[in-house]
Each structure stands twice: as structure tokens, then as C-alpha cells.
Symmetry: C2
């Protein structure tokens, strides 16, 4: 008797082979011995329960098959590029990407695809039960005049003319692939034909290679009509904006996913935090709340004169303290965490540089007075002898590590220097093994973002120095800030936007939308100062609002990122069947690829 | 008391208004009278059951609301482009397309979107229950050297060089949008990581405007591993090819859709017909079997000498008879059905012209002898005195209408002259009101297509006179015809292909695939005579077959067409939220659109 493992897409089954002849001098073991590994075989036999001790986990772990016959359905080459079963010696990523169909034989990847399908199914079931209608929106959509970050699709179907009337020239016309179905879904809800829309939507972004971004990605996209502009009466958990109907649905989706796919019961409601609180306490608009290391605003503890001095510069001073006594998991990492070279990098970004101070018997009383931040902010000059006195309420002790930083106040952008430092300390602690994140997922809503910003380098190529929408120009202001909006106090206007954060990763975001055409027009014209050409691409949406559109709001979840977290992998490529590399190439299909001049000419274009 | 109808996405609710004051001199009726039609309003009140006699069909037809308060949420312009509620005077199609968000307020369109979502859900549930895994495949895929019928997507992410080594030039690279996920899904199944795949897949085809085609469309796409190469033991309903596992799943899907969305129980198995039978009896490879008017092969009834004469020309003679006595619904239409002008058109197509003969007392005995078809085929010359004698077994009577036609034998292509004539007669009879198609859907599998063809004008631009695959080059031959394949008797090889036909419309098609790499290579090289460049784009698939791929097969259902039939509309545009016109433009989003030279230059292209 001998044993052979047989793999299928569900796992591995134990085959039990007897040495009985199957024809001539051949026995089943001798037949199977000749079959190249990774071949497709048909096995016939009797399934039986394995002895209790030999049962293994997995769907086929408790059975074995007494084999009566084996048929070779399709032999594998004896020279495969690599053996997917050899998980101890994984082939390099490039080779695995080129032969993705071999790599997908690894049970991990196969299980990821299965889980992705399961989760998509759970999401759809929740939405169907809540009367959402699944609607497909166009992938061949409109190219905007700027055309930035959009993929273009040349067409043969239509050309327009330009040039003088006497000698018109043909102009090639293009579709563009949507970065998200934002406009179609709003138009759909404006139509009133569908009250609740959803779609697992493919989206496209033509970005310069960013690590772990894909040029095509999937969103769980939803939108609801008749969404409120304020919290539910009686709710007092910090959700002070509208859109609680969307919040409820999304929390129900997530709770169902974790209950059914993970066996984890999540709380009835997720925690809520304002943008200002998230930026002040965690230095991030998507804070990782699984650990403490909260940032402390030093200004609050300084004498009034110092506060005034600081306020006049539009900044505040804050510190991140890793305490030897309380933060045992992090203290060693804090002491080793990159400092100087890092500070330089920080200085080039929106937030100010941070400064690291190791507390010693020598500086325990004077560390704040001696700090560069104090010097730079003018605090020391203003109140030289009194700074240190009050700071002892921070109870800093010898052996602690402190980072001090000056930052814009109110906060802006997505993170502060101390927020990034906090994450680096935690990451290093995790690498060193002194800190292990808790198994329980930490969900968090972040709300009350500034509606407009000048601090988003990603958007500045379009904004050209003007105010730009923090998220998109359709987000509604909080009703409390409508006066500020019309008074031109642009920086004070908070939006009815909500981000869903999981373990420090933004997995979704959405908002209540503007449904009042005149308010939308005011935002386009007066705040964002769009010119006529820029406004034209929003013309149909403005008109749809004028047709009695219901108030509405929605959200999109990043499905690839969500699945990567659920599959406990760092790379979204592990949850996509045929992903592209970080520079957008596909080594399996060998795309992108050149196209002949004659084909291009059908589209009215040629190489430059 | 007064009454006002309130429309939402589910239907219309009756509002009952009392004349009580709501503030100042205003009453609810006076407030509502000022609200422009199509505005969004919030109505508060008490829901009550309507008196029995006043109940109407629809979800809100049996209730009314005693209104206590009305809030105007968003007023509509008083000058809308058209009123969607005025279904008696529909605005013209162009205007409705431009303001699609208004047109979607029509209950018919709204109900279509809802039904589409419901059916998608039923389809997914069946597939999930049968262990299918939903997998998303790339939309940014590989452009093939020919590039025909594919949309291209220029990229910035990579360029390659061509030209001489000393002066390399940058060459723009392109993705292409998939016409179907055929290669990704086969690679997925070859991987063994997933045994059963499905996806509601968006597909793209850059065709010159064809009526009722969309440049993007949706398929229910599925593929299964370990599919048989022959029928199930004991099955004897005409399914003589492999892939009955796929057939079972698809029939289960369709049965569930009709049961749950239509309340109609379909038979346990659908009818099966070979391509040869469909072409011979109905003159179509997607026959409408809801009515008779079957075509009769006259050759079978002619003397042996005539048969020999006909066979030597590779043709046969057949006739379509509409009988006054038996085909009462069709006889008038048959007498009026276009003949002469039409014959000219038919002559330009693959099949031969048809000839119409009205049977009169004068020609009832001699119609066949006197016909052009008989003359042209040489039959009359061969056996002048005997032709008419045998044909009286057709029992043609005075008042009947007969079309005679010569066609290729064995049949080729998608339809014959008589097949098209048969449909025109039925269409005219339906227009005249003498024929009403039965309510019950007629499903039919058509199998045993020729694996290769030279008669597909759609494919000739790539084939350039060579043999081409009737469907695609991965379709397996019937095992009975493998010898013919390797012997070079190409025209005799039948494929393991199956089309699903509903009421004369092809709603899906698929096949068992070749899983033997050497057979696939033989087909590429020896039969299709692909050159090296053409073969290169299939290289990864060939290699995947060599890695021990399981036997596999699948199918794709045209979801838009299926939905149009279920929604009883002639146009697929009525089941798509934001469709394009027949020339591929989108009057709502105003796409396609021009793109600036500077944006194009980022992609290494410029207008020609």
C-alpha cells in the first residue's frame, strides 16, 4: 500500500494505492509514478473516512480514497517554469507573474479568490435585502478637457471638425474610462428611477506607478436617495453630519462580512471621530487606533503668552512621547527609529519637521526649552523662563523618547510629521517582534473634513493654486457651515464627508451630496473658480439637480484593499486573479503592446 | 378634500389632502398647488388602506396617505425639456437620450432596471449554490497585432524602442479592451485554482454602427473544469457532444430566472437540434421554433438521376410552402411578402436567391418544372418529363404560396434564403395581426456546428481567405471527427459547440475547449495556418495547456439581449441605464469628445 496526495481547487486529498494489477504488469502505483507532477488525472475509487488520528484540517482532510483506477486526462510538461506546490521555495515574483496560471495553483491564492467571491456575495445579499438595485454604469465614458489621470479610448465612430470653415480638419474623438462611477450614479439617483443603487464597479486611474496601486480596481459603489442632512434624533456618538442612512447600510455590510467570512461579531455601531480629533490625537486622517501613542498638544500646557505667540503664526506645537514605563512594546523601537535623515524628508512635505529628544538625567528638566521647535516658534524668546515649568505636567521621565513638532493649526492634509513618526515606531516595533497588533479589527468613521483644501499635492495639477475640493465638488457642506460658505470663509467649511477606516487603512469614503443646483453652481463658480470649460463637464449634473432631484448621498468601498485585509496579505495583487505590476504592465498577457500604424490611422491618430 | 398622485421609484401613491390650515392662510392643497411638477417633496401623514373598489395594481395601489404636512425638498424647474409622466406623448428618442435622467423616471424604464438587478441576483445565486467562484478578469488587456474590433487604450506607463540601435525611437504602447474574457477565463481554469468560474463581464466591441448593438455590453460568462467530451450515459435527446455539465448549469439558471422573475415553469430539459437540422428545417442556425412553416428538401422527392445531378454541384433544392388550408395565420402575409427587390438582395449574400411561385389552377401541376431553380440547377434538362410527377407528394394546392431555392449542401453560414423568407413572412403576419407568437418561451440548443468555415464575412478581414473558426479557435472537435481533423477533411469536422436560442434569438453560446496542447497547436498551424505573429498572442494559453490543464468548457449568455426579451422590449437600450446610440455616441455625457494635443502627447500619440 502507498499514499499519494491529490490536489484540487479545494485542497489536498489522500489517495490510498494498492499494488493490484490494472493490466499487464502495471499496478496503480506504477501508473501514477509515471505521471508527471501537476498533471490532470481522473481518479476512481471508494471514499472513506480517515482514522481519527490521521484527519487533517481542510475540506478533504478527513477522507481518503481507495483508488481503483487512474486516467491521465492531461499530462504536464516535465519542465515547468516552477513548481507551485513547492511553497517553501517560492519562485521570484517576476516568474510567478509571467506564469500566473501556475502560481494560482498555490492554495493561498486559490483560497483568496474563493474568499473574494464569497465576500462579494455577502455584500450583494445585504444590499439586495435592503432594496438596493444593482445598476451597471458606462465604462466608455466622457473624457474631460484636462484628461489627467484618465485612460483614453480612441474611437472610429465619430469625428468632429476643427480648423477654418473652408478647410475643416477631422479631429479624433475619445471616450475616457471612469475613475469612479460618481457622475453616472448621481444622475441615476437624480432620475428618481432608482432610490438605492449599488454596483461592484471597475474603476480606472492612469497614475504614475505607485506601489500596490493597480490601473484598474474594484469599488463597492452605492448611492441612496432621501438621505438626511443631520444626525438621527437621539444619536450622540459623535456623528454630527448627515448620511446616517448610508452609515447604517455600510456598517450592516461590514458586520455581515466579518460575521460570515471571519466568524467575528462586530459592535452594533462603529466609533466616530472628527477629522480635527484624528489629526490632533493621531496625526492622521485615517488613524490606526489599535495602539495608543497619542500625540499631545503642548500648546495647551504652555503659558497664555506662548499660546498667543504660536497662534499668530497659524501653527501649534505638539509632541509624541514614548514612555519607558507605559509603552514597553514600543520603547526600543522608538529609540532606534530613523531620525535625522528622516527629518530632512519630512521638511519637504506639507507638515513641519519633527525633532527627536532622548530624555536623560541631564535634559529631563530642560528638554522643551532647549528644543529647536521651541526656538523656531519664538516661544523661548517670548517666555524664556517659564516654558519648562508647565511642561512637567507631561510627566516625562528619564529613558522616555520624545518627538516635538510644529504643525499647521487647524490641521490640513492627510497626516502630520508626528503622525507619520508614530506609524514608523509601531511598524519597527512590529518588525522587531515587540508589538503584535490585536486580532480584532478596529473600525472607525472619520467625519467633518474640511470641505476645501489647498494642501493636496495630488490635486494641484488641476487646481493651479485655487481652492480644490478635499474629496469631490459634489460633497455637501455641513448645514452649520452654510453661512461660512456663502460668506467666503472657505477654510472654515466642513463637509458632510465620511471615511471608513480599518486598522489605519482607509477602506471607503463617501458623502452627502449637494442637491441644490444654486449651491452647486456657487461652489463651482465662486469657491473653486472653475472656468467655463471646466464647468461644462458638470452641466448635465447641474441640470439634473434642477429637475427636482432628491437629496442623496453614498459611499464607495475599496474592494481590493478590503479583500487584502481579509486575506491577511500586504499586497492587493494577491487578491486579484490577473493583476498588473506596479508600473502597469502585465507579464502574463504581455500588455501593453505596440499597435501598427495602419490600425492607429483608423482612429485618426499616429505616434508622435 | 382633494387627491394628488405622488410618484416614487416604486410607483404612484394616492395623497388625500384636507383643507386645514398649515400656517397663515395656507392649506396643504394650496401649498402643493404651488409645487412645480417633478419636484422632490417630503410628505408626512397617515397611511391607510383604500376602499376596496379604489385599489389599483402596483406596490402602492392599495393604500392612500392622509397628508398632515408637506416639505418641498427640491423644486423642479418649471421648464423641463419634457414631462416623463406624459407617457401618451413620449418625447422623441434624441431628446430623451440627452436627458436620460428624466426619461428614467418613466415607470417602464425604472421597472426594467429593477428587473435587470433581480435577474442578475437570481443568476448569481444559482451559480453560487453550484460552487461557482466569481472572478474578475482584466479590462485593460492585450492588444493583438491586428487590433481589429478591439478598443485600444494608450498608455503612459511604458514605451519600447524601435528603429536602429543608434537612434532608437519611442513607440507608444496600448492596452486593448476585451471582446470577451475568453482567454483569461480559460487560463483561470487551466490554473486549477478555480474549478468553476463565473462573472457578469463587461465586454467591448469596436464595430461600425449596427442597429441595437452597443460598444460595451454584458455577458454572463462561465467556465467549468473537468467537462466531458461526450454525452451523459443514457441521454438520448440529441445532445451528442460533450459539455452536458455546462448545459445542466445553464438550464438551471434559465429555469430559475423564468420561475422567479416570470412565474413560468420551464421543462426540465430544453430541446436539442443539430446545426444541419436547424439549417435544413428552418434555414437558420438560431431557428424560431414558435411556428411551423418548415422548409422541405425537394431533392429527396426527386428521381435519383436528379439527385445525382444536384449533388454534383454541391447544392440542394428546397422549398418553403405556405398553405392556404393549414397556415391561415400566414397565408395573407406570404402573398404580400416582398419578392423581387428582395431576391436581388439575397443574391448578394452567401446563399442563393429564392423564387416565389403563387400556385394557380394553371401552374399547380407544372410549378416545379417551370421554375427558375429547376432550370438553373439543370434538373429539368436531366429528367424533363419526370420532375412534376413526384413533387405532388408535397400536396401543393391552388392558393398556396411556394418559394423555391437552391442552396449549398451541406449548409453553411447562419441562414439560408428560405430561412430569411420564412422570418419575413412571420414578421409581416405579426405586423398585420394575423399571427401572434405564443406567450411560452421556446428554448432550443443548437449543436454540432461545423468547426471551421469560409463563409463568415464577419471574420474574413482576419482570415484573408484561409479557414477560420466558426466560433473561436479553442473549440474542441467532436471526438467522432478527430480523424477527419488530422486527415485534413476540414469541412467535415463538427465542433463541440452549443448555442442557446430563445424564440429565434441567440442568447448564448459556448463550447468544450481543446485541452490538448498538441491538438491546439495543430489547429493553429495546420488548419488556420496562423503565422508566427498571430500564434504569439496565444502562446501563454498553449503553455497553460501544457501545464496539466484539466479538460474544460463554458458558455457566455448575452445579458442585455436576455433582459430585453424578459422586459418585452425590442431595444437593448431600454434595459441599460445609460446606453449609447447605434453609432456609439452618448448624448447625455457627450462622449466621445476631443482631447487636447498636450494630453495626447503624454501618450506618445498625436492626431493624424
Amino acid at each position: 500500500m502507498s499514499f499519494v496526495p491529490l490536489r484540487d481547487s479545494y485542497g489536498t486529498t489522500q489517495l490510498v494505492l494498492n499494488r493490484t494489477n490494472v493490466g499487464g504488469s502495471e499496478t496503480i502505483p506504477s501508473v501514477l509514478a509515471d505521471v508527471p507532477v501537476e498533471s490532470a488525472v481522473l481518479v476512481q475509487g471508494v471514499v472513506s473516512l480517515r482514522p481519527e488520528k490521521q484527519r487533517r484540517p481542510g475540506p478533504a482532510g478527513d477522507i481518503e480514497v481507495q483508488v481503483d483506477g487512474v486516467t491521465l486526462l492531461n499530462p504536464a510538461d516535465r519542465n515547468l517554469p516552477f513548481l507551485p506546490s513547492d511553497t517553501q521555495n517560492l519562485a521570484n515574483e517576476e516568474l510567478r507573474a509571467q506564469y500566473r496560471y501556475l502560481d494560482l495553483r498555490r492554495p493561498e491564492l486559490s483560497a483568496n479568490l474563493r474568499k473574494r467571491s464569497q465576500v462579494a456575495n455577502i455584500v450583494r445579499n445585504v444590499l439586495n435585502e435592503h432594496d438596493f438595485v444593482e445598476v451597471e454604469t458606462p465604462i466608455l465614458l466622457k473624457s474631460t478637457p484636462e484628461g489627467a489621470r484618465e485612460f483614453l479610448v480612441p474611437t472610429r465612430v465619430a469625428t468632429s471638425t476643427r480648423g477654418s470653415e473652408s478647410s475643416p480638419t477631422q479631429e479624433p474623438l475619445f471616450y475616457a474610462l471612469p475613475q469612479s462611477p460618481q457622475q453616472p450614479k448621481q444622475l441615476l439617483i437624480c432620475s428618481g428611477g432608482v432610490d438605492r443603487y449599488y454596483q461592484l464597479a471597475r474603476c480606472f486611474r492612469d497614475e504614475d506607478g505607485r506601489k500596490d496601486r493597480q490601473p484598474e480596481f474594484t469599488q463597492v459603489d452605492l448611492e441612496m436617495a432621501f438621505v438626511s442632512w443631520g444626525p438621527r434624533t437621539g444619536d450622540s456618538d459623535g456623528w454630527r453630519i448627515g448620511g446616517h442612512e448610508v452609515r447604517d447600510v455600510v456598517e450592516t455590510i461590514i458586520r455581515n462580512v466579518w460575521a460570515k467570512a471571519e466568524g467575528v461579531q462586530l459592535p452594533a455601531q462603529f466609533r466616530v471621530m472628527t477629522y480635527n480629533e484624528a489629526m490632533s490625537r493621531y496625526g492622521s486622517d485615517k488613524p490606526d487606533t489599535r495602539f495608543g501613542l497619542e500625540i499631545v498638544d503642548v500648546k495647551q500646557r504652555l503659558p497664555l503668552d506662548a499660546v498667543t505667540a504660536s497662534r499668530s503664526t497659524g501653527t501649534t506645537i505638539e509632541c509624541l512621547i514614548v514612555r519607558q514605563s507605559r509603552d514597553a512594546s514600543f520603547i526600543e523601537a522608538a529609540r532606534e527609529c530613523p531620525a535625522e535623515g528622516d527629518v530632512v524628508r519630512l521638511q519637504s512635505s506639507a507638515a513641519r519637521a519633527s525633532e527627536c529628544i532622548n530624555i536623560t538625567p541631564e535634559n529631563v528638566g530642560s528638554w522643551l526649552d532647549d528644543s529647536q521647535a521651541t526656538a523656531r516658534s519664538g516661544l523661548k524668546a517670548a517666555v524664556p523662563q517659564r516654558v519648562g515649568d508647565n511642561v512637567d505636567t507631561l510627566s516625562v521621565e528619564v529613558g522616555d523618547v520624545v518627538w516635538l513638532s510644529e504643525r499647521r493649526d487647524p490641521p490640513e492634509g492627510g497626516s502630520t510629521a508626528l503622525g507619520r513618526q508614530r506609524l514608523r515606531v509601531a511598524e519597527l516595533a512590529q518588525t522587531r517582534g515587540t508589538y503584535t497588533p490585536p486580532a480584532a479589527p478596529h473600525f472607525l468613521w472619520v467625519t467633518e473634513f474640511p470641505l476645501f483644501t489647498r494642501a493636496d499635492p495630488d490635486k494641484d495639477f488641476l487646481a493651479k493654486g485655487r481652492w480644490t475640493s478635499s474629496h469631490h465638488p459634489f460633497t455637501a457642506p455641513m448645514w452649520q457651515d452654510i453661512d461660512a460658505l456663502y460668506d467666503g470663509r472657505v477654510s472654515e467649511v466642513r463637509g458632510q464627508h465620511y471615511d471608513l477606516v480599518l486598522n489605519g487603512t482607509e477602506i471607503g469614503g463617501g458623502s452627502v451630496r449637494v442637491h441644490d443646483a444654486s449651491m452647486q453652481e456657487y461652489i463651482f463658480t465662486e469657491v473653486l473658480q472653475l472656468d467655463e470649460g471646466e464647468r461644462a463637464s458638470f452641466g448635465h449634473l447641474l441640470h439634473a439637480l434642477k429637475c427636482g432631484a432628491p437629496p442623496h448621498g453614498g459611499l464607495a468601498l475599496g474592494f481590493d484593499r478590503l479583500m487584502a485585509i481579509l486575506c491577511k496579505t500586504a499586497s492587493i495583487r494577491d487578491v486579484i486573479a490577473f493583476p498588473k505590476t506596479s508600473v502597469g504592465t502585465d507579464p502574463l498577457f504581455k500588455s501593453p503592446a505596440p499597435v501598427s500604424i495602419s490600425v492607429l490611422s483608423q482612429y485618426g491618430i499616429k505616434p508622435r
